[in-house]
């Protein structure tokens, strides 16, 4: 059992507050990704869970046990670092065996465990090499091996793929997903790359400036973002944000007026009349339709092969991104009429908070 419970965690570096009252429950054996822009505190939170950093106030429980004041090695967690952190003067075998030899494990047992891990990660050929003679991907596997060999309850990953090139990153991502299936433990993974987050996670924790913005499954965050920050962070390309005003509410629908008085009707009672709101539409949810209410003048078109993106300016000047199929036929300076896919218009109040959709 390796569930984690974080209660009221606070941390500051001198005067700067880095973590504000973090409360988080992580389910047993789940794969949780901490994601957010730089400086949001995701690495700090991870390192605090690891025990590399001290918390200021609050508690951390692993499996019901209070590990808040324990040293990292006593917490039954292990960590994979961004720059692999392999001991340069030791061979791969010695690197992987190191935590076990520190724990004074019996030599035969160590050898067996190292063998098991190196087979799992296909490192058998590399055991006698030193880190300097390994490629980036190989080093990362060794780092993972060193983390696995201790059989911890929790695996912590601190941006492990950031130092790899794009192609390798995809490959390693698949390997980590595979690893997850083979091992029974909780995974906590930090990244700034939302693609990694979306593909690997059971649960995503979005952080900003030391606070949790939203916790949920990838699809949940995609379909029901809690605020403009999460909406803009998850999903690529970014969601379009268009300033608007609530014109009228009629029963189960609301009418929004854009800056040029274009009216859009959306289901749901959205705030009060005359309130300033933000309309959010993902590029893939704009539908070119002859009777579309929104009209954008196409400024740029990018053709990527499988999909194309048109950047169009609305009447009030807001530039929106529209995803188009490859055979779109849209030309520059053309006025593109758009409508919003069914149920895909998000409305956020003036503080950025999502308003309920019907």
């Amino acid at each position: 059992m390796s569930s984690i419970s974080i209660r009221n965690l606070n941390k500051a570096y001198g005067k700067a507050r880095v973590l504000h009252d973090i409360n988080l429950e992580i389910a047993d054996n789940s794969f949780v990704v901490f994601v957010g822009p730089s400086g949001c505190g995701k690495s700090t939170l991870l390192r605090t869970i690891a025990g590399l950093e001290d918390k200021e106030t609050g508690q951390i429980f692993l499996d019901g046990r209070d590990i808040s004041d324990e040293a990292p090695v006593d917490r039954d967690v292990s960590m994979v670092f961004q720059s692999y952190a392999l001991y340069p003067q030791m061979t791969v075998r010695e690197n992987i065996a190191f935590p076990l030899s520190l724990a004074r494990m019996e030599k035969g047992e160590i050898a067996a465990k190292v063998k098991g891990v190196s087979e799992m990660l296909h490192l058998e050929e590399l055991l006698e090499r030193k880190p300097a003679n390994l490629s980036g991907g190989q080093r990362q596997r060794v780092a993972i091996g060193r983390a696995i060999v201790r059989d911890p309850k929790v695996f912590l990953f601190d941006e492990p793929l950031s130092n790899l090139d794009a192609e390798l990153r995809v490959e390693m991502r698949l390997q980590i997903a595979q690893l997850r299936r083979n091992l029974s433990a909780t995974f906590i993974y930090v990244t700034h790359d939302q693609v990694e987050a979306m593909t690997l996670a059971d649960t995503i924790v979005v952080l900003r400036l030391g606070r949790i913005e939203q916790v949920g499954s990838p699809m949940e965050l995609y379909h029901n973002p809690a605020n403009t920050f999460v909406a803009g962070f998850i999903g690529s390309p970014k969601m379009n944000f268009i300033p608007a005003r609530v014109k009228s509410i009629d029963g189960a629908t609301s009418a929004l007026a854009l800056a040029d008085n274009t009216e859009i009707v959306l289901p749901g009672r959205r705030s009060d009349v005359d309130q300033k709101v933000t309309l959010g539409v993902r590029p893939e949810h704009f539908v070119p339709a002859d009777d579309g209410v929104l009209r954008g003048v196409v400024r740029t078109v990018e053709n990527l092969g499988a999909v194309s993106y048109a950047y169009a300016a609305l009447a009030d000047g807001t530039l929106v991104t529209v995803a188009l199929p490859p055979e779109h036929g849209v030309r520059l300076d053309e006025t593109l009429p758009l409508s919003i896919a069914e149920g895909r218009g998000y409305v956020f109040d003036s503080d950025g908070k999502a308003l309920p959709r019907g």
């Binding site: 292990s78 960590m79 961004q82 001991y87 060193r146």
Partner: protein, 280 residues
């Protein structure tokens, strides 16, 4: 950049003149010493100080070595210097490690205390220092000199090592911590290899300063048998003062190890100066 610093032929000639002139100033004493140390007798030194020796008397060095009992002094110097290097590199590195990676409530104060030692030289505190050494029964002992000299070099060493370690990322040490390594193991297996360049600098600076130290041994040593080479020179001088050729030989015996070491590691020496740049 190059165009600013390039020289025309005339300028080059002028520059060479000046630089050669200063070279003469620098090499004159050493050159004279070498030249005259090889003369067979005093008379030749007087008659023709700039002339070549009639007989190349390398045995002057042997005479000086034996006559002045250099062997004993050499050994003492070596013992003191090597002991200082070992003590200082070990103690300063452990302190730097704790101050940078395991800070505690008094760390800044402790660092400031060391920094104070950098700026206030130990010579000033001669009187109380003597009191302490005497009361510990360490007067006239090599151990006493070793401890005092090591202590005097700690501040600069701590400073150099903390500066260096601060610039090294702590990730490898974090990994070791996660693996369960205790501080001493982290220090020994992870940190020491990482700070090798700075350790080399500290070792070099400490060795040179310990080897060249005159004042502290003067204060704390009484028996000539304990003298390092710097004090031994004074003895030698009393004996052989008038015999210039032997004196020069003796001085060169003292200088040659340092010169050789310097020529072998000149870059390290010069870099060490700018790094330790605070103390001589």
């Amino acid at each position: 950049m190059d165009r600013l610093f390039k020289l025309s032929k005339l300028e080059q000639a002028l520059v060479q003149l000046i630089l050669l002139a200063y070279t003469c100033v620098v090499l004159f004493p050493i050159g004279i010493a070498v030249l005259n140390s090889l003369k067979p007798n005093l008379g030749e030194v007087y008659k023709a100080p700039f002339g070549l020796p009639s007989v190349w008397s390398f045995n002057n060095y042997a005479t000086a070595w034996v006559g002045a009992n250099f062997q004993g002094f050499f050994v003492n110097s070596a013992i003191i210097s090597l002991a200082c290097v070992v003590i200082v590199t070990f103690c300063a590195s452990t302190i730097a490690f704790v101050l940078v990676r395991m800070p505690f409530r008094g760390s800044t104060l402790l660092f400031a205390a060391f920094l104070l030692g950098v700026v206030i030289p130990i010579r000033l505190t001669l009187a109380p220092l003597f009191v302490i050494v005497k009361s510990l029964g360490l007067l006239d002992s090599l151990l006493g000199v070793i401890l005092v000299q090591s202590a005097s070099m700690m501040p600069v060493a701590v400073f150099i090592l903390t500066s260096f370690l601060r610039a090294v990322p702590a990730e490898l040490e974090d990994a070791a911590r996660m693996d369960g390594a205790l501080p001493f193991q982290i220090y020994w297996r992870v940190v020491l290899p990482l700070i090798r360049p700075a350790l080399a600098t500290v070792a070099l600076l400490t060795f040179v300063q310990a080897w060249n130290e005159y004042f502290l041994p003067l204060i704390f040593l009484r028996t000539p048998a304990n003298y390092p080479i710097t004090l031994g020179m004074s003895q030698f001088r009393l004996q052989f003062d008038v015999q210039w050729h032997l004196m020069f030989a003796g001085i060169l015996i003292m200088l040659i190890p340092t010169i050789v070491a310097f020529l072998l590691a000149s870059r390290q020496f010069i870099e060490g100066l700018t790094q330790g740049g605070v103390k001589e």
